[in-house]
């Protein structure tokens, strides 16, 4: 536990130093705020009650005007904080590069990470900007459903703890391929495992890179491409020079920064409620803005709620997650997918023993769970102090809620505190992105360099120097591809890619990992059919799901908007015109209504109605693995089960990477 304190002290020290360092240029520069362009209001959802519903119409108009908010980070302060983070992590890289001599050092930090360190690193690897900004945003706009959404991300670790962490530590070496190829034909299994790892990492990495680019553009006004290239160069630098040691420490620093940011902000939020949760929740229910926001939301479903009932509704389920099957499907992907994520599995090879692996998962669970509990306070706090309307005026998805809250809470103490606190949280978001993308690049390059190059192409005959060189070159290439994909995907809708990564991991990787470890009869055919069917099913279902864009469906929705807005225009007194927002929406809708054509796969409308494929693709993955294995039985794999089983339970014969 002393390590926690050291890290906490360290991160606090970092923030203090950063603040002191950043303080000066602010005064000198007279704080030129660079306004992050508020996202343009999209057409369809703007057509909410207002015009059609008589009740809130009169009150809504004046309220709306004062809710218009702009989020602007002070560029000088923020960039200085980024520089501090880059500086510290670069020192880590220089130190780590000296320690990285063998393949074991590069992929698994020589097995020399302690359980506590690994716990923090797992948390740092796992909590992406989506958890940090997205979930609190969901809570600030939809209340209870956002909180419910966050639960699955922690429960997922029970599977990691009970089923995969310790056996993987004992049975594996660097990659997913190592675990799967133990008692099967190594070459085909490694090749398929590597493809699956690269697929999962690419989906996740693309989502992270695009998110990073947009976040930086919105917050500090760095252009999209520059941000992607900047983040990409840092990520490649960490991985290529520092390997697993540097990646681990970047993740530990990030987790520490994230937790201190969230804790500090929560304390500020709770202090306003006198640290009394009952008062806090009373404030939510009694907030007129939240009441107004909720009554407009439920009116779309034809429900009339006003006053305190509407406020109470914010604490009840069903405002955001309306399809229970989709919810269960996502839950399955999380609970099983996390344990199949290659960058998470890889973390267990960095600790020396199964006991350390166990300890690291438990520590990670407390950090991750604690973070999500704090996120509730941040989300509800943002709803109270910034109002859902104010949050939506900056970003319709609510992604800026935490950052806006930081600025507000800081500014309530002193205006300069608002700038500093916002800059600090931007820096935390920046560190978060760096830590997650580095872990992904490392996992993907380990699969290519260790599984494909060293074990398939070179038959395992490769000296340490060559292995490390291969790993470094691969990381460089993977990182460069990540940058290119990030730039190419700027205009694409990437929101579903994270869920897709989890679905592929849950449907392809997890069934074969579990069966390799626990089923005597499991063999090569089972691994390959499980991986292929699970992965293809998950990707295929997403390709025909509502996640894709269906121009004809968009056109139908847009036509409705056109009709409604024209009706609104007709109802205006003669001579009056629609306000700017409405007329923009009308122009956009008219344009969209002309859309024709089909989705990427030539469909008019989704074939599969759920956004999350897990509920179908996970059983398919398991079934394919079982059938494939039973169809082509293999005596050798069966005979070797005793060895795998004894090894994974006792750690006997474990690759002792520590004892050089």
């Amino acid at each position: 536990m002393t390590m926690n304190k050291i890290i906490l002290a360290f991160t606090l020290a970092v923030s203090v130093v950063a603040a002191a360092f950043a303080d000066e240029p602010v005064k000198a520069a007279g704080s030129p705020p660079i306004a992050g362009a508020p996202t343009s209001p999209g057409a369809p959802t703007m057509l909410t009650p207002g015009s059609l519903a008589p009740a809130p119409a009169e009150t809504a108009a004046p309220v709306k005007a004062e809710h218009k908010r702009i989020l602007k980070a002070n560029k000088t302060v923020t960039i200085s904080m980024f520089a501090v983070i880059i500086g510290i992590t670069m020192c880590v890289v220089v130190w780590a590069a000296k320690k990285t001599k063998s393949a074991a050092d590069f992929y698994a930090a020589g097995g020399g990470i302690t359980g506590t360190q690994n716990g923090w690193a797992i948390a740092g690897d796992y909590m992406s900007a989506a958890s940090f900004l997205g979930i609190s945003g969901l809570i600030s706009l939809y209340g209870y459903d956002g909180f419910m959404y966050s639960v699955g991300w922690l429960v997922a670790y029970i599977t990691v703890l009970l089923i995969v962490a310790e056996p993987c530590r004992n049975a594996g070496k660097y990659t997913l391929g190592d675990i799967l190829s133990f008692r099967t034909s190594p070459k085909p299994v490694r090749a398929f495992a590597a493809i699956s790892t690269v697929a999962v990492s690419t989906f996740y990495l693309t989502a992270q890179m695009v998110g990073a680019g947009k976040l930086m553009a919105l917050l500090v006004g760095i252009p999209y491409k520059t941000s992607i290239i900047g983040v990409g160069i840092l990520m490649v630098g960490y991985v290529v020079f520092g390997g697993m040691v540097a990646t681990t420490w970047v993740q530990i620093i990030k987790a520490g920064l994230l937790m201190s940011g969230a804790a500090l902000l929560s304390v500020l939020v709770m202090s306003k409620a006198g640290f009394n949760p009952i008062t806090f929740f009373d404030t939510i229910v009694n907030s007129p803005d939240i009441q107004d926001h909720v009554s407009k939301m439920v009116l779309r479903d034809g429900v009339i709620l006003n006053g305190i009932d509407a406020g109470q509704r914010f604490l009840e389920p069903g405002l955001y997650l309306k399809n229970p099957l989709d919810q269960i499907s996502l839950g399955m992907a999380l609970v099983l997918g996390t344990a199949g994520m290659p960058h998470i599995l890889m973390r267990f090879f960095t600790v020396p023993t199964a006991q350390a692996a166990r300890k690291s998962v438990i520590i990670a669970m407390f950090i991750i769970g604690g973070f999500y509990v704090l996120t509730t306070l941040l989300g509800f706090g943002a709803a109270i102090y910034l109002t859902p309307q104010g949050i939506m005026s900056v970003d319709k998805g609510g992604n800026m809620a935490t950052l806006m809250l930081a600025q507000q809470m800081g500014a309530d103490i002193a205006p300069i505190c608002g700038d500093l606190f916002l800059a600090f949280l931007c820096a935390v978001a920046f560190a978060t992105i760096l830590a997650v993308v580095s872990g992904l690049v490392l996992a993907a390059s380990a699969a290519i360099a260790h599984d494909i190059y060293v074990n398939v192409i070179k038959d395992g005959h490769s000296d340490q120097h060559e292995q490390v060189m291969a790993a470094r070159i691969t990381s460089f290439v993977v990182g460069a591809c990540g940058i290119l994909i990030g730039i190419a995907a700027e205009k694409q809708n990437v929101a579903h890619l994270v869920a897709l990564a989890f679905a592929v991991a849950a449907s392809g990787n997890l069934p074969v990992v579990v069966m390799s470890l626990f089923w005597r009869k499991f063999n090569t055919a089972g691994v390959i059919s499980g991986l292929v069917v699970g992965t293809v099913a998950a990707i295929g279902l997403v390709m025909v799901s509502p996640n894709m864009t269906y121009p004809k469906v968009v056109a139908v929705g847009a036509k409705k908007v056109v009709v409604a807005l024209e009706k609104k225009q007709a109802s205006l007194p003669s001579g009056a015109v629609l306000d700017e927002k409405d007329s923009k929406a009308l122009a956009k809708a008219k344009e969209d209504a002309q859309l024709a054509g089909t989705s990427m796969l030539g469909l008019d409308k989704p074939l599969f109605t759920l956004k999350n494929p897990g509920i179908i693709s996970i059983p398919l993955g398991f079934l394919a693995a079982i059938l494939g294995c039973l169809a082509f039985p293999n005596k050798r794999s069966e005979a070797m089960f005793d060895e795998v089983y004894v090894r994974q339970n006792t750690g006997l014969g474990m690759s002792r990477v520590v004892e050089h």
């Binding site: 429960v155 009840e316 069903g318 407390f366």
Partner: protein, 103 residues
Amino acid sequence: MTEITYDWKAIARDPKFVELRCRKSAFLFGWWGFSCLYYFLLPIGAAYAPGIFKVKIVGVINFGYLFALSQFFVSWGLALYYAYVANKHFDRLTRELIDELHL
């Protein structure tokens, strides 16, 4: 690296190992099943029994909120319980087994 060869089949049949295997499997898969069941009660309950979730328990705080919050504590509790059982029983059995085999 020195390779020691073990008689894996013999170890797998060792009564100590069989005891370890049985106790571990029952514990791990049993509690894993429990945690999944408890977790899926949340989305299922929210969708099909919203009435229960709306019951106010403390002030305006309702059952749904406390149930979602309890998921965190149940997960943490289970993690700590597993650590306790593993440290006390599974690790001890493993050590005894290894000692017995004179490895």
